[in-house]
Symmetry: D2
Subunit: 256 residues, 4 copies
């Protein structure tokens, strides 16, 4: 199957995973492995980047996994920009997932600040993957300023609600042809991930769905299968939906 | 992972596939293989059971796959009973999936006739897997007369609508402890299958979702991963659902 | 607007209400009045039918409201038949809503017993309105034995889940042309009732949604408006659904 | 019942209607009347404001209806600002519904431009009702710059998809206490409007749902009842939702 290509870099796995909220580094490592992911995000502001000391990074083999720094914990464009630069300075990566939060309770993104940070960092040569809302106007702007992907939420971070915005995600999928569209945030269980891929997403990014499961390792494995299943179903071209097998008229208003 | 056990027989795969609606025997065979299924259903009334002539059965290796005769095309208990006996007579199996249709247009089951056929065939020593509606009273009766599983539809056969009856399936899952609960009919794409398994179904049976996909072989593979993903997610114990990560009050009325 | 006609009797209101679960007779009366209903159901087995003593019936003016006895609390066809006869004997009515429960926990109907009771009572000259599941085969049978309406549940009695079976209700609406189709059970709030009417139901029957609201009188009024709104929307012919206003391709898989 | 109060002005009706897309002025007038609305929006850029010539305004009695100019057809903050000023200049109103479109195909709002226009016009003494997305960060900003209400879409303008963003609307309802929350855009039929009101919206604004119905006058009436039904249901405090009446455990994952 075709790989997921972001900024010219190919990934076989279309599942990207975060590294927060696990019990410890060992569990993080085991979960990542079970997920089959090739790219993992690391919160620049929350992880000890000093490789001479003990750190989460000890558990993530940079030979094996592509590390994507993220700016979790940032509330302004400026904070996100500085966090991205820090990630590059310590030799982590010049890729960055931009996450600028606009509401502390719900962790909803500040799309304006996200756009500003993206614009600045693209000019500084970063490969920027912005986490954003499902705002289609801002999605277009992010692409225009050089984002390497668009990563809209399906539902609030850590809610586990699954795809809560099918209509706008469908519009985004129709509209975005220049860069990968990666659903990021809100996934709660395997069928959510499969659905995102069936809707045509190029990839899915998740953290809490795996880390907060009773058995994260097994859930990580489930997610690997789910993302693959959804992608294959998308490529396979699903059967038509009808009220019943012999129905002739088009189906209105029924969905799962 | 624990196998699916039906009437004392263990199956590693929790995906059961039908063999109707394919282009030809070769495609059927390739799809079954890609699905990873161990049990396949064969319509007794539609397939040439005479192994001396050319038949669909030539494409399904009985050493590799467990053949489950089904009574597709039957509209009365009597027809179903005779079809089951035929399946046993030609040495196919003394297992049978009972399918008695009550409405020709929608292929909705006749649950009363299904119950009668089940009762009779159980007494004759068959292992009976009845395809039925999500009627919980009839589900209980089917178990009481000795059904080896209960197989409620998710949506009409061949509709591809996915799970259209979450509430009753949830009730059935809560209620049925004696035999496997296998969702049969209505699956359209991978996330439907994953969802059924996440709801706690012991297995999923499908035919059209694979056969009517543009690329059945790839869809069969997707379904293998989907059923596995859903089962693993179910066992892994998914994260809680909340309106947002820091929300304290219970979530009301939001679902995917 | 056209009235709801059942067995030749015309009702302006398409909302039918039950009389159980209220605080007292006065609240019941006020709620019925606020609902604008013309027909109310009364549980034959639970209400004191002896008009010489104090009874719920004192609060329901038979000049103003059409009393529909129901067989709530019956678990066999026989019990339901005897309850119906009792209702007729005390001069209540020779109409009856048949309710035969098959599962005590979920109050799911026993459709087979419902069919038997309906058949018998129709022969005895009753006007029978059977409460049933969304089983389309049994719906057809109920019509064939002379039911004056078909009354499928939307969700379990007292669950308040709203329409949980859109696909089968849609099929029922398409299929049933001989008698009114009245959604009975499962309504929780106003939009549920409106939706049932928009789907083409001829009427809605509810009890708990009103009686268990914090303010039953106000909810009864809401339901009057909701049923009217849904009926008018159905007759008015709603706008098409599209992904966005200028979209040309048909919409797939998005619903409210 | 309590009126809807916007910027100190009380409205008995919580339904606000647009005046676009009708067959002619007479139909517009009849629909508005049937809707029971007290406030109607008029597109400043599309309607002849010169009352000396023939105009849509001839059909909307300013003694009877509160005219709310809207900036439909504007694609920048500047255009919206100038349209608002024009509305005030011709004596129409110093209220304005801000509508700045960011994507021509989907009519999705440009929330940044909306914010800018709102900020400027509030300073100039306008009462500003901004049509926006369900972005909760921008909603907060609109309130901070003095918006008199927040009017998020339920789905794209003219899509008729109903509430496609329950989760974010729920968050908005929880979060917004300072000004009315009015769902604007995406309503397709009566139950959509009822649902918006049951979710706690203070009002609903719609245009296409009425104008594009086969019978707009009847649909307008339906909408009047629907908004009232939803509001009353919200105030009445609906019954709890459970899998079935006697279920004890909390309900997970089932919704209408």
């Amino acid at each position: 199957m075709e790989p997921l290509v972001i900024a010219g870099k190919a990934f076989q796995s279309r599942l990207i995973v975060g590294t927060g909220k696990y019990k410890d580094g060992a569990e993080t490592q085991a979960a990542i492995e079970a997920s089959g992911s090739e790219m993992v995000t690391v919160a620049v502001r929350r992880v000890n980047l000093d490789r001479s000391k003990e750190s989460l990074l000890d558990f993530i083999d940079p030979q094996r996994y592509f590390l994507l720094p993220n700016t979790a914990g940032c509330y302004t464009a400026d904070e996100a920009i500085r966090a991205a630069r820090l990630g590059r300075e310590v030799g982590l990566s010049d890729w960055v997932k931009i996450e600028v939060i606009g509401d502390q309770a719900t962790l909803y993104p500040d799309v304006q600040a996200t756009l500003e940070a993206t614009r600045t960092l693209v000019k500084e040569g970063f490969t920027v993957l912005p986490y954003t809302s499902d705002d289609i106007v801002f999605a277009r702007r992010l692409i225009d300023v050089g984002a390497a992907a668009v990563m809209p939420l399906a539902a609030p971070i850590g809610s586990g609600l699954g795809i809560q915005n099918r209509a706008t995600l469908k519009i985004l999928r129709e509209m975005i042809t220049e860069v990968p569209l990666i659903v990021d945030a809100g996934v709660g269980t395997a069928s959510d991930a499969a659905l995102a891929m069936e809707m045509g997403a190029d990839g899915v990014l998740m953290n809490t769905a795996i880390a907060a499961a009773a058995n994260p390792i097994l859930m990580a494995e489930a997610m690997q299968h789910a993302v693959l299943a959804g992608r294959q179903a998308y490529l396979a071209g699903r059967m038509p939906r009808k009220l019943y097998a012999t129905a002739s008229s088009p189906l209105e208003g029924i969905s799962r």
